[in-house]
Amino acid sequence: MNRQVCIIGGGVAGMQTAAALDAIGIPSLLVEKSAALGGRLREHHRLFPYLDSGTELLGRLEDSLRRAALADVRLDSEVTRITGEAPDFSVELNGAEVVTPVAAIVAAAGFEPFDASQQEEYGYGVYRNVINGLDLERLLHPDGATGGELRRPSDGQPVRDLAIVFCVGSRNEKLGRRFCSRVCCAFSTKQAIEIKERYPETSVTCFYIDIRTYGRGFEEMYHRAQQSGVRYIRGRVAECGQLADGRITIKAENTLLNKPVRGSFDLVSLSQGMAPCRDAAQIAEMLRLERDESGFFTSRAAESAPNDSARPGVFLAGAVTGLKPIPDCITDGNAVSARIAAYLRSLD
C-alpha cells in the first residue's frame, strides 16, 4: 500500500486526489506545470450555485495538502515521459529527473476555456466591450484591475446594461465542438446574480438556447436570478457589432415571441465553453489512452468505471473525462483514491 502514485495536474481534482490518498496512507507525487496549485479555480472569485468564495475553497485545499505528509508537490513541473507498465512505471519530470517505481498514474489535467475570438461573429478581441466569462469574473474580483467594480473596458465607465451570451464555443458543428460544456449556464447565471445584487440599477440580459440546470442547486439559482431581475431571452445571439460610443449591438431572435431582437449594451460577456486542456493529446499519447471525438479521455466503462482508464494502473479524475462543476471534481478525487487503494491492495 505504500507504493507511490503520480498525479498529473494540480487543479481541484488533482489536489483532492493527493489529499485523499494521504488520508488513507498512500504517498503521491503531484505534478503541476504552473507555479501554483489550484488550476482554474484560481480564476473564480465566487462559485456557483451558492456564491461561496473561490479563494476560501482554494485555501482549504491548500491547507489539506500542507498537512498531507505523503504528498510530494512539484510545481513548475511537467511529466515528459512515461515508461514501463503498472505497477512499475518510470515517470520523467521536466526531461530530467526520473521517478521510479510509480505504481499508478492519475490523469487530472483539467480543461481549457474556449478561445472566444474563434467565433468571429461576436468580435471578441476586436470590440473592447466584448469580454468573456473569465474576464467578467476578474472584473468582479476585488483583486482585479477595477478593484471589483463593474466598469466598461473601453472607458472605465460604470456598466448600465450587460448582456451575457450563452453557448459560445459549445454545441457548434461549424467549430467542430458538438458537446455541451455543462457548467457555463450555471457559471454565467451566478455572475448575473452577483451583478444584479450588487448593482440593482444595472440591467442584465441572458441570451440562451436552453438553460441547463442539471446540478444540485442549479435550478434554484436560476430561480434566484430571475427573482433578482435578470432577464432571460431564449434565442442564440447571431452577431455583435460596435457603435461609435463603444456600445455593443446584438442581433438575435426571441424565439418564444417569434420576434427579432436588436439591442445595444455597455458590456457583452461571452459565456465561453471549455475543452480538454491543451496538452491532453500529449498526455494521452504518453499514457497510451483513447480519447473521444471531443478530446475527452475515455473511461474503461463510462457508467460502471468512470475513473478507470482502459489501461491497468492508469486512472482518470476531474474534467479530463468531461466538464464538471467543482463538487464533482472533489468527488472524482475521492473516488479515484478509492479505486487506487483497491488496485494497490490487489498487488499485495
Partner: protein, 428 residues
C-alpha cells in the same frame, strides 16, 4: 398579393391534410398533416419520395431552434413591420410535415445562405427550401406565386422568363458582331437572361464583351441557342423544367465544342459549377470577376484611367456566401486608380441580400418586402457615389428601387464590368 390567392386555392379543394399524387409511376400520398411525424402515416413509396427530393436528408431534424437563422435572415431585419418569414418556425413545422401550415411562406426565401453560413447545427436550410417548394409543386399542396408561374411557362417554351422570342437573345450586342463557337475560341461568353433581354442589365454583357475584345480574348457567344441556366427554376422547386433547361444547354455546349464558359451572373455560375455535373456536364465555368482579376494580374488588362470616385461594393449572395468569392471583385476595384472603396455596415460574409435570389426576381415579392431598399439605404449611408455589384439580379433590384424611390439620395448603381470598361486605358 398573388401569393395569398395561390395559397388559398391549394388548401380549399381537399379534405384537410389528405393529398395523393403520382411519382415515378406510383401513387404516393400523405394522409394527414397533423400527425406527430409525417413518416408515421406515409407509405414506403412516400418515404422514398421525400428522401429523393431531399426533405429527409437535409438535416432539419437536428435543428435545436436557437433562432440564429431567423436573427440573420434578411426578412427579419424589418423591425417595423415584423417578419413575414420566420425561418426557425418554418423549420420546426417541417420537422413534422412538409405540408403543415407552411402555406405561402415557403416562397419568400431568397436562398441567400445567411442562415446556412451561421447555423450551429449545420442544417442546409437553403436546400430545404428548394425541397419544400418541389414538394408543393409535385404534390399539388401549393403552387408557385403567379408571377413566377408566368416566367416558368415562358421558360418551358422559349428558354427565357420574359416571353420573348429566342432570336432577341442577341439584343444586348447592340449591333456588335460576335463569332459563334469554333475550335479556336478560348471561351464561350454566356450573358444569361437578364443581360440578354433587359436593356439595363444588357449593358453589363456589353461591357464584358468589350473588355474581352480590347484585351484580345478569342471568345464566342451562342446567341439564340442559349437557354436560361435554370438556377432560379430549381430554387423554385420545378425540377423537371430545370432538367429540361440544363439538358438543352449541355447539348448546345457540347455541340459547340465548348470547354470553358464565362458567365455574367453568379446564379449561372452556381448551377453550371455545382449542379450541371449531375447531368454529365464537363466544362469549366468562370465568373467574370475572377476572370478579369486574372487578366489584371497577368498584365493583360491595364486599368489606368483615373476615377476619383468613392464606391461601395455589394457582395451578391451566390458569389460570396455560396462560393466564397469575396476578394477578386475588391481586388479589381483596388486596381482602378483614384477609386476609393468603402464597405457597408454588412459586407462580405454578412452581406445583406438584395432579395432577388430563390426565384424571387421573377415575382413581385422583391419590392413589396423592401429588401433592396434596406440594402440601398446601407449603401447610401457610406457616402459612396456608386453602388457596385457583380450580379444582374442585384443590379436590376437596386436600379428599380433607386429610380422608383426618387428620394434624391444620388447614389448611382452600376456593375463592376461597366466601371472596368470605363477605366480601361485608351492609348493607341
Amino acid at each position: 398579393m398573388p401569393i395569398e390567392k395561390t395559397a388559398a386555392t391549394g388548401q380549399t379543394t381537399r379534405p384537410r391534410g389528405s393529398y395523393r399524387w403520382r411519382y415515378q409511376g406510383k401513387s404516393v400520398g400523405i394522409l394527414s398533416d397533423n400527425c406527430l411525424d409525417i413518416t408515421e402515416s406515409a407509405s414506403g413509396d412516400t418515404r422514398q419520395y421525400l428522401s429523393d427530393i431531399g426533405l429527409t436528408e437535409l438535416g432539419q431534424t437536428v435543428c435545436f431552434q436557437c433562432g440564429t437563422c431567423s436573427a440573420v435572415c434578411p426578412h427579419d431585419q424589418d423591425l417595423e413591420n415584423g417578419d413575414k418569414l420566420n425561418i426557425r418556425q418554418l423549420i420546426q413545422e417541417t420537422q413534422f410535415s412538409p405540408t403543415r401550415s407552411i402555406g405561402d411562406r415557403r416562397w419568400l426565401c431568397a436562398t441567400c445562405n445567411a442562415c446556412v453560413s451561421q447555423c450551429p447545427r449545420d442544417v442546409d436550410i437553403t436546400a430545404q427550401m428548394s425541397g419544400l417548394r418541389r414538394f408543393a409543386l409535385e404534390s399539388g399542396t401549393d403552387s408557385v406565386p403567379h408571377s413566377a408561374k408566368l416566367a416558368m411557362t415562358s421558360l418551358a417554351s422559349l428558354g427565357n422568363p420574359f416571353a420573348e422570342p429566342r432570336e432577341r437573345r442577341r439584343d444586348w450586342t447592340n449591333g456588335h458582331q460576335f463569332k459563334s463557337p469554333d475550335s479556336e475560341v478560348e471561351l464561350l461568353f454566356f450573358p444569361g437572361c437578364f443581360p440578354a433581354y433587359d436593356t439595363r442589365a444588357g449593358k453589363i454583357a456589353l461591357a464584358i464583351s468589350q473588355i474581352l475584345r480590347r484585351v484580345g480574348v478569342n471568345f464566342a457567344v451562342l446567341g439564340s441557342r442559349e437557354s436560361c441556366c435554370g438556377e432560379s427554376v430549381r430554387r423554385l422547386g420545378n425540377e423537371s423544367l430545370f432538367r429540361q433547361l440544363a439538358e438543352q444547354n449541355i447539348a448546345a455546349f457540347r455541340e459547340a465544342g465548348v470547354s470553358r464558359v464565362l458567365v455574367t451572373s453568379p446564379h449561372c455560375y452556381h448551377t453550371f459549377k455545382d449542379e450541371y455535373p449531375e447531368f454529365g456536364a464537363d466544362f469549366e465555368v468562370v465568373h467574370y470577376t475572377t476572370y478579369l482579376w486574372d487578366l489584371i494580374r497577368q498584365g493583360r488588362l491595364k486599368l489606368r484611367h483615373n476615377h476619383s470616385l468613392r464606391v461601395t461594393y455589394h457582395d451578391p449572395c451566390y458569389l460570396g456566401r455560396h462560393h466564397d468569392i469575396y476578394r477578386e471583385p475588391r481586388q479589381i476595384l483596388e486596381s482602378i486608380p483614384g477609386l476609393e472603396l468603402v464597405e457597408m455596415a454588412d459586407h462580405s460574409q454578412r452581406s445583406l441580400c438584395c432579395g432577388g435570389g430563390g426565384g424571387r426576381i421573377w415575382t413581385d415579392l422583391n419590392t413589396e418586402q423592401n429588401m433592396p431598399a434596406r440594402r440601398l439605404a446601407q449603401a447610401v449611408a457610406t457616402g459612396a457615389d456608386v453602388l457596385l455589384t457583380a450580379c444582374p439580379y442585384c443590379l436590376t433590384n437596386f436600379d428599380s428601387i433607386n429610380e422608383s424611390d426618387g428620394d434624391g439620395s444620388g447614389i448611382q448603381v452600376s456593375d463592376i464590368a461597366e466601371l472596368v470598361l470605363a477605366a480601361l486605358e485608351t492609348d493607341e
